[in-house]
Symmetry: C2
Subunit: 370 residues, 2 copies
């Protein structure tokens, strides 16, 4: 199926910084609890992990937002923490809470004891889900495969779940430097092999989530985060299955490091909502496409507020190719599905008009902020 041409390739073209008829949009966590149809499937599955581990159900929820909205990409329904789960830590989600592991890493010995990772043996269900989704998508839009990045996986593996500051992981860097590097090296190899499996199963684009990159000081970022992202990019470039797939790196909070990450040779950077796209473009000019970065809270606003903020962001990003619209963080469960439609349609409508040379600014009605 994947050999057929994509019906809508704007996302791929924007990643490659080619002209597109409109700015493509997809949303992090676009398949999720804010959708009633997702909640119904999840109830049938019994648990989040049962849902993620059943390819038919993962496929079903992956496609749900595409039935509702004119999105320009699909993203595999899964979690960033599947690799530690496959390594035996036992990932669980309880209602209203973040991820939690049954076991955590507490010592250098625990790092050494981690089993070898074989993506196809241990995460075959993800490959099956990717194949099935790709078949059901009928090349409507591209499919994104993804993984958590090594530093972020390490954070959760040491803490055993979410945390405000991941102090256990950060202490480990000082108390167990050598074991930290052993762990990050194992994770980098696992991530490369996991993404390769997803590529072979049919993913069109790959994405790395380094959600806790912003916890690190600059020299720590180079040492514990960037180094392993570099290893993964290099692994993917060396392999026929992944060499030609666009790769998006979303290192949340790593605002001081956009240039360093762009230099790794990835295709695009995911951006959180705390910087202007125009500023990041200055820092990374001609190196990468940029994906983002609407403050997700805007989706709690009125239709007029959503449209106004969307327009402001599009105007800031400008008409240069290489912008993919997204939120700066994932959708929240209490967001209104109708707001997503307003956003998706606004991105398309405004970006088409901007490409036609229309001067939009003063003609947009909005509720003044002050």
């Amino acid at each position: 199926m994947k050999t057929d041409a994509l019906k809508n390739d704007t996302f791929i073209r924007a990643l490659l910084r080619q002209d597109t008829p409109h700015v493509p949009i997809w949303l992090m966590r676009q398949a999720g609890r804010y959708l009633p149809e997702y909640r119904a499937t999840r109830a049938r599955a019994g648990s989040f992990m049962a849902l993620a581990k059943t390819p038919e159900l993962a496929c079903e929820v992956t496609l749900q937002p595409l039935a509702r909205y004119d999105l320009d990409a699909a993203i595999l329904f899964s979690d960033i923490l599947t690799i530690p789960d496959a390594m035996g830590l036992g990932l669980e989600f309880h209602d209203g809470e973040g991820p939690r592991f049954a076991r955590k890493i507490e010592s250098a010995a625990d790092v050494d004891a981690l089993p070898d990772f074989h993506a196809i043996d241990q995460l075959g269900y993800v490959g099956d889900a990717v194949s099935l989704i790709q078949r059901e998508l009928h090349r409507k839009v591209p499919l994104i495969g993804f993984s958590g990045a090594p530093w972020t996986l390490m954070c959760y593996m040491l803490e055993g779940g979410g945390s405000k500051d991941f102090a256990r992981a950060k202490k480990f860097l000082f108390h167990e430097s050598t074991a930290s590097h052993v762990l990050l090296g194992k994770l980098a190899r696992a991530v490369s092999s996991y993404l390769r499996m997803q590529a072979k199963a049919g993913a069109d684009v790959l994405m790395l989530f380094d959600s806790w990159a912003g916890l690190l000081a600059p020299y720590e970022f180079d040492e514990y985060c960037l180094r392993y992202l570099r290893q993964i990019v290099s692994d993917l470039h060396a392999d026929n299955a992944t060499r030609n797939l666009p790769l998006i790196v979303f290192a949340k909070g790593a605002n001081a490091h956009h240039h360093s990450i762009a230099k790794l040779g990835c295709t695009a950077l995911g951006l959180d909502w705390t910087q202007k796209i125009s500023d990041v473009r200055q820092q990374t000019r001609q190196m990468v496409a940029l994906q983002g970065n609407l403050d997700p809270t805007v989706l709690y606003g009125s239709a007029a507020q959503i449209r106004f903020q969307t327009l402001m962001l599009l105007q800031d990003a400008g008409r240069e190719p290489g912008h993919i619209f997204n939120l700066g963080h994932g959708m929240n469960p209490d967001m209104n599905p109708d707001s997503v439609k307003i956003l998706v349609d606004a991105v398309h409508e405004f970006s088409i008009a901007m490409r036609a040379g229309e001067h939009l600014g003063p003609s947009i009605a909005y509720e003044p902020l002050a």
Copy 2:
């Protein structure tokens, strides 16, 4: 007492970007739970708020770290949330948790119903503590007075306590724009009057903590955060009691906005640990002193690791005047008091040697990170 000359004025001189014999250092939350003598006083007081509200006890714990370490500044023992408490929200601290309010702001009507704020009537205990500390300090080092900044106060007032993302406060900006500005305006006036009271009571330096500035998108930052910081700076510049006091603004996570904040006319910026001092100096050249920004986690490291990281930071900051050493965030309760001594002494020793033109780099023993 305050008319006497300071015995150690390196902190003031560094704030004014004048030459100093060494780089001055103090630590956010230097008086706190990591010190056994603090825990003893706190136990006597019965609760955090009883401690903060009893000037003799607040004075006692303010001075505790100065008895142990060669710190270059004292900071009033208090909390950033005293103003909302004085406005009737009922601040409480429970063991092992962050701040919690008995009542929270839930509507525009709640904002309108907030009582007028009179610093001396409602926070007289803070003025009394400042006077007493200043008397007991005997001009050994300067005394810092402080407050939470309006946006951060609003975050806690809407949420009723700490939060991962302060979604309630952020939603309020969209659902109740007008009431948001009314609230922020009230808070800015309260902060100005509160800092004026602390200045009159004897504070030598003032500091604003905008701990959640990093939650805002760029245009939201200008609208809801920077605007009210500007109002406070302008109020302080207009008043004889505060006009000549150095003002430090610590807008945590606001990495994209250092230049905007420096332009307000404050004396120094507090920095979290996620950017290099040398980079921020480029962005704010000749406008402000910089305070920070060691990753607090370094204090969990060995003596050699603390010394090495300290040296790296001092070398990055360079020999240009206008650097005050600090952590990028407050001390944690589980930190070792001995590590603070190692840090304080290292900052002094290395910065004196650097000023003497010694080439330190290769001669420092350290545990390699990899």
